[in-house]
Symmetry: C2
Subunit: 161 residues, 2 copies
């Protein structure tokens, strides 16, 4: 039941530094033993798990506070309180807007790439030399066939940036 900071960190898969940080924020205050050591119980583990779950969803620490307060108030779940539901709703709206923004940007960037690739293909039909670095204003001295620097097969949808 009772445990010290290192043990709690291990059980929650986080670090002691993180727990101390949460305490600084008043998010997860700890009781103390006689020697000054922080001491936690299973309830604190639940609070912490709630925080980490929301963090994984991209919630800021302050946004997790209503959930934590709700749990500490004795409710069965962190989202049993209206304040928590409000945070859910605000987050959903935020996510929707963010997703819409990103999709708009994705479309724009995709369009720019397509256009730029077309223009590159037009300017360099056979394969003139890349004149990046040393090139006077839009003149065109491209007699010799080129080499090097070809687009990597225009492959989309890779992963892990």
């Amino acid at each position: 039941m009772a445990m010290r900071i290192g043990e709690l960190a291990r059980q929650a898969g986080t670090t002691t530094r993180t727990l101390r940080h949460y305490e600084e924020l008043g998010l997860l205050p700890a009781r103390r033993t006689g020697n000054g050591y922080r001491t936690y119980d299973d309830g604190d583990l639940r609070l912490l798990q709630q925080i980490r779950t929301l963090q994984d969803f991209g919630f800021g620490l302050e946004e997790t506070r209503p959930f934590v307060d709700c749990l500490r108030a004795g409710h069965p779940a962190g989202d049993s309180c209206p304040a928590s539901l409000d945070v859910y709703r605000r987050k959903l709206a935020e996510l929707d807007e963010c997703i819409a923004d990103l999709q708009r940007i994705r479309a724009e960037v995709g369009g720019q790439l397509a256009r730029a690739e077309l223009e590159a293909a037009a300017d360099v039909p056979g394969g003139p030399p890349p004149l990046c670095a040393f090139a006077p204003p839009p003149g065109h001295e491209a007699p010799a066939p080129g080499h090097e620097a070809s687009p990597p097969e225009h492959g989309r949808e890779t992963g892990t940036p």
Copy 2:
């Protein structure tokens, strides 16, 4: 044509601080007049516009460098060089992954909200009092009909978080 930092900032809709910052990064170096004042021309304005456009797309400043270099090398557009196209492609992949993450999270949060709303409706069918703040572990003393603190009509899709 030639202008000082304040004028360029105005024309690009940014601040002098930003321009000095770009210069620190070597992104937009300035010539100097006799008195030490930075001086820019229309070419610099174009470079700056390129940077700002990409910034609006969420590109980091370092990611704009290939575009700026490309323009400065005399190419007609910032994305006329292979290095710029690569940045486009990497950004697209990044955007796709980010969008996918957010959509997954949106689904999870949406699910949590739905579940929590159901549970709230189940626990409080007629309208028992919200016992957030002061509530001993999951007991249930809810005789009197409640008031106050109702969810805002569960409205989704608002804006500007």
